[in-house]
Symmetry: C2
Subunit: 137 residues, 2 copies
């Protein structure tokens, strides 16, 4: 509990009750979550608050946004020391076509790609779709 408060403080985010709850929720889920998921989990809270919490977390490097091809933004906690902006830190995301869940595969980095002349890469996003470990087993 205190670690969460510390993590938020360290990243310049005031550790309010709601924020701690959301952080905790995401830490327990282990899969990327959409705003809707959080909404369902905290039905009493206002959508805007949850929305802005995610945005704040994202800005402050606590979570990173994931675009898994569903056209719904997902978010996952950054690993300690994760620098989502840096190219060498870009890991891939896996979206299960069966359970529809998306996970970070933090060990699998996006390989370097040679682009044609004139193209300058700043960011990359690789999402692999298929059957996840839980569903294939």
């Amino acid at each position: 509990m205190k670690e969460i408060e510390k993590r938020l403080n360290d990243n310049g985010v005031r550790p309010t009750a709601m924020r701690i709850l959301i952080y905790k929720y995401m830490a327990e889920k282990e899969v990327a979550v959409a705003l809707t998921d959080i909404e369902n989990a905290f039905a009493k809270a206002d959508r805007t608050t949850l929305y802005r919490t995610l945005k704040t977390f994202e800005e402050k490097g606590i979570v990173h946004q994931i675009d898994d091809g569903t056209h719904i933004s997902k978010y996952a906690l950054c690993e300690p020391g994760c620098n989502c902006e840096l190219e060498q830190d870009l890991h891939l995301h896996f979206h299960c076509n069966n359970c529809e869940e998306t996970v970070c595969l933090t060990e699998q980095k996006i390989p370097h790609i040679n682009l044609p002349d004139g193209y300058i890469a700043e960011d990359a996003n690789l999402i692999v779709k298929g059957i996840c470990e839980k569903c294939s087993g």
Copy 2:
């Protein structure tokens, strides 16, 4: 003109006037287009028709859908002989952070990725963001 009709026929799509126009439009654009783009280009036509045309084209393998991280579906014509479903045919897409345009880099294939045990890949989507050839030159 006749080639377009043939292409549509070969893929089991009746070559109506509207469909030929849309195909032509996409062929000329050279960048991936959103439904909105087509809407603006053919203001007289109904959105639903355009929407369903894209869906039909996609089903019949005439275009492939691209998810460039903007949360807006883009579409691009398949190269002749493109098999979007097949893993070895997956090329990457480049999204320019400056002009906001998305292009197919059909020569750059998505490299094979080793996934952790239990994960089965069926599809992949790599989108690289940065500055495109036109904007960097």
